[in-house]
């Protein structure tokens, strides 16, 4: 049984700023017919480039060395005309962000029909019938009514189904999915993965899906391939991988993924090397806890037998204890002094008005929320998009208008005004989702952090400078950072600066709105650990808003679950997770990355 896809010694070079940069190096991969493989890596690992290389969809100026054999045919040598015949028919591809990946000006029927007609010819009526059939197959309800709809008329999950339908139109034997669930809500993401798994079985199709989300791989894939800084570090059976990772990077990566009920998140010190400055020898060595001198001399050949193979001179022993599988010890219940009191908080957005239309009544985006928060407590707020969780954060921050009362330290915001209100408001600080957007691109880092200090009152320049240095140190950043601009720091560093800025105002409460969603897994771990550490030392409270249950459960003392603007359940973390009272909570928990025993399940039934 020959492989559907065989990649042999492939290197990909791109042109960046006039220079040639090798993004992917000595890449080898093999997928059998019907096999589902996860290609895993963080940003900059080269995984997306690998996927695009198979389809020969790389930007102009890219060069591919090596062989890419699809059913024996070398795609790397094929000309454009041949590739056009292969794309969509031999290999189908699904991209992330379906709203951008679909043409907003053409109907769904036209776009799916096009995929069919390009290879099979045929008239419009035939193509339309095929589109109808495919829409049904991917689980779109009432497909006949939706054929002439445009992409923006579908919800996110439905759009992704449309994309999948389009990729399958000509029944390819290999489907490549590039981060198909990134950006989707957890429940929807789960449905999409289940759809892909089902389609794989029904069509006997191989699937290569590219992702940074290890839990998805664990649940659905048979095999896994891990990339780091452009080279493969470990590959093989998924079961074996999750039971006994052999490569130190794999172990570190697994340790930094947030799972429900987990004790510790592991930091990976250091940063991913830039393509231009990759170390000779093992690329992970500078950050590896087990590194030895020999590791830096030449890139390690593969070691291992059965299970997985790892490109490491000193692969981890098979019988090691799994750091990430350590469950959380039950936390003692703490008593908190009250800090924040939210009473009957309701937020309504005004409907569209106009000269000829009256103000339309939309349902309130936040409806009658009541809860309290204690000093030093971390409250997690989870929900899907549209649940109102961000709105809640903004209302507490006084960024939007609301009905009801929010009291901090016994003072009602609605009862204050002017300077008194500004002073009270300063006690609640914020960390946003997009780290760089939250800073003025034309202000230096130092100015960004100094601003809350300066706004508080008259202070000397020397004091401000000293304080900025101190704060940078507290979040683990170099003092030289102060002279840089937001455009010149990484996402993780930017988020740390945002935290430093929040600290500069000496708040009593910090609201974090999806603080880690835009970051890589290992950066996320570092940030969460930093937050935990800061809370421990400073005794301020957090409101942590996220759609990622695992992240919230790692940090929060109590969790509030929001759905359609209402609190569905509110309880202490451990209790909520072990025995959820509401069906919705249970569904969210089931969709979250689970802490699984090392003999964990892989494919869903």
């Amino acid at each position: 049984m020959s492989a559907v896809l065989e990649i042999k010694d492939v290197s990909v070079t791109l042109k960046r700023g006039g220079k040639s940069v090798t993004i992917l190096d000595q890449f080898n991969l093999s997928i059998a017919p019907g096999e589902m493989m996860g290609l895993v890596g963080e940003s900059g690992s080269g995984k997306t480039i690998a996927a695009l290389a198979i389809m020969r969809l790389l930007p102009p100026g890219a060069q591919i060395q090596g062989q890419i054999l699809l059913n024996g045919e070398d795609l790397a040598k094929a000309d454009e005309a041949r590739m056009r015949a292969v794309r969509g028919k031999g290999v189908g591809m699904v991209f992330q962000n379906p709203l951008a990946a679909l043409n907003p000006s053409r109907t769904v029927a036209a776009q799916i029909g096009e995929a069919w007609r390009v290879h099979q010819g045929g008239g419009k009526a035939q193509a339309r019938a095929k589109a109808l059939e495919l829409l049904g197959e991917v689980g779109i309800p009432n497909p006949d009514t939706r054929l002439d709809d445009y992409p923006h008329q579908f919800s996110g999950g439905m759009r992704q189904r449309v994309m999948i339908a389009m990729a399958l139109a000509c029944s390819p034997k290999l489907l490549i999915a590039d981060e198909p669930t990134t950006g989707l809500d957890p429940l929807i993401a789960r449905q999409i993965m289940e759809l892909i798994a089902r389609l794989r079985r029904e069509r006997d199709m191989a699937v290569l899906f590219v992702t940074h989300d290890l839990s998805v791989v664990q649940e659905h894939a048979e095999s896994i391939h891990v990339l780091y800084a452009g080279r493969s570090v470990e590959w093989g059976g998924a079961n074996a991988f999750f039971a006994h990772p052999r490569h130190p990077y794999s172990e570190a990566l697994l340790g930094s993924v947030a799972r429900l009920g987990q004790a510790r998140l592991q930091n990976i010190p250091g940063n991913l090397p830039e393509p231009e400055s990759r170390p000779a020898g093992c690329r992970f060595a500078p950050r590896c806890a087990y590194a030895q001198e020999a590791c830096s001399s030449a890139y390690p050949p593969a070691h291992g037998h059965g299970g997985t193979q790892a490109a490491c001179l000193y692969p981890l022993p098979l019988s090691g204890k799994l750091v990430y599988a350590e469950p959380l010890a039950p936390k003692p219940t703490r008593r908190f002094l009250p800090l924040l009191d939210v009473q009957n908080l309701t937020v309504r957005y005004p409907g569209a008005g106009g000269w000829f239309g009256g103000a339309t009544k939309l349902p309130p985006s936040l409806n009658d929320i009541t809860l309290t928060l204690g000093r030093g407590e971390c409250l997690g707020v989870v929900g899907e998009s549209g649940s109102g969780k961000s709105t809640f954060g903004r209302a507490v921050l006084q960024m939007i208008g609301y009905e009801g009362h929010v009291l901090l330290d016994g003072q009602d915001f609605h009862a204050t005004a002017g300077q008194a209100k500004r002073d009270l408001r300063r006690k609640i600080q914020v960390v946003f989702q997009d780290p760089r957007e939250s800073m003025n691109p034309r202000m230096t880092i130092g100015e960004v952090i100094a601003e809350p200090i300066r706004l508080k009152g008259r202070v000397s320049g020397a004091y401000v400078r000293a304080r900025v240095q101190e704060l940078l140190g507290q979040v683990g950043l170099n003092p030289e950072m102060a002279a840089r601009y937001p455009g010149g720091v990484s996402g993780g560093q930017a988020q740390r600066i945002a935290i430093a800025r929040a600290l500069a105002a000496e708040p009593e409460l910090i609201v974090l709105d999806e603080p880690t969603s835009a970051l890589d897994v290992s950066t996320q771990a570092m940030l969460l650990n930093l937050l935990k550490d800061l809370a421990f030392r400073n005794a301020f409270s957090y409101i942590l808003i996220s759609h990622d249950f695992a992240v919230v459960s790692y940090m929060a003392d109590r969790i509030a679950v929001l759905n359609a603007g209402r609190i569905v359940e509110l309880n202490e973390t451990a209790a909520l997770i072990s025995s959820p009272q509401h069906a919705y909570t249970a569904a969210l928990i089931a969709a979250a990355p689970q802490l699984q025993p090392h003999l964990g399940q892989t494919q869903s039934a």
């Binding site: 389809m55 056009r84 679909l102 907003p104 053409r106 390009v118 923006h152 000829f356």
Partner: protein
């Protein structure tokens, strides 16, 4: 959709009304007034007062406005003091000439802009695009009167291919469409050069931007050929901003048109406006301002409508 159209119409009408009122009051409030220009050398305070009384210019301004509006609603655009004719009658011929001139220019410019923009977008960064870019920059900076002057020098004086002025050969009793067309050539080229340099740049940018979008990559991943991607996918999305820009650029076409008409002595609205400005013939001025305002507003509305049709998302706003 109809709601949106009605709303836009109402809003445009309001804008026009304010505009017209503004213009009217400004005209009649400035020192001097039409009486001075009519009487010219013979203006003495007495004769001016007499003329004012006869023309009804000494009535309260608001009443004058009311009278004027009343006439307007009855299709009368006022009476030219200097040319001694009702304005409406006068304007029609000039209006027709201008409409022909502009229509030809706009159609030609749009077609050429789309072509150039396509080339510029597809070959972005390579020499065809850079060449077009240089052309756009250069011609955008060329003043219309300079272009007109150069064209006249070359084509009308040096090689005598095209006439330098007028609209039709008055000396030839059998002059017909051909002569008409010949007289249009240089003016149309002048206006088009400028319009094309601006429009094609927008379109070129739009095409380039669309080509970089995700849905183009998806289409490639399906195996769609490049020409099909360009014409079935990209064009639809890139044309939309073009339509908006076109609607917005009517004022600029008029501006260029005035100068071009003056240089070539082409008897259109712009030319008439120029001469009326020189001779301070207020009724004509006001009437032309009104017509141009209406045309501009209609142009914008039309552009919005076409946009609404092209964009499936618009009907849901």
């Amino acid at each position: 959709m109809t709601k949106m159209i009605l709303r836009r119409l109402a809003s445009s009408c309001l804008s026009l009304f304010i505009l017209v009122a503004l213009v009217f009051f400004m005209a009649h409030l400035t020192p001097g007034g039409p009486a001075y220009s009519i009487l010219g050398q013979k203006a003495t305070p007495d004769s001016v007062a007499q003329l004012n009384a006869r023309l009804g210019l000494n009535q309260p301004l608001v009443k004058q406005f009311g009278v004027w509006l009343w006439h307007l609603l009855h299709g009368q655009l006022g009476y030219s003091y200097l040319l001694n004719r009702p304005v409406g009658q006068l304007l029609w011929v000039y209006e027709r000439n201008t409409l022909v001139f502009y229509s030809v220019s706009i159609v030609l410019s749009t077609a050429v802009s789309i072509l150039l923009g396509l080339v510029q977008g597809v070959w972005f960064g390579r020499w065809p695009a850079k060449l077009i870019g240089a052309f756009q920059l250069g011609f955008y900076a060329l003043p219309p009167f300079f272009v007109a002057a150069m064209l006249i020098l070359w084509f009308a004086v040096d090689v005598r291919w095209f006439p330098a002025s007028g609209i039709i050969d008055l000396r030839d009793p059998h002059a017909g469409l051909a002569s008409f067309a010949a007289h249009l050539v240089l003016p149309v080229i002048t206006v088009s050069l400028l319009t094309v340099s601006a429009l094609s740049r927008y379109f070129g940018e739009a095409v380039h931007e669309e080509l970089g979008k995700d849905y183009v990559r998806t289409a490639r991943a399906k195996g769609v050929s490049f020409p099909a991607i360009l014409f079935k996918h990209v064009m639809r999305n890139a044309l939309r901003p073009l339509v908006t820009i076109l609607g917005l650029s009517f004022p600029y076409i008029f501006t260029g048109g005035v100068i071009v008409e003056s240089v070539f002595n082409y008897p259109g609205l712009g030319w008439l406006m120029w001469r009326s400005a020189l001779s301070q013939d207020y009724p004509i001025l006001i009437a032309i301002v009104l017509i141009i305002g209406v045309l501009t507003v209609l142009g914008n509305l039309l552009a919005d409508l076409v946009n609404g049709l092209l964009d499936p998302r618009a009907s849901y706003e």
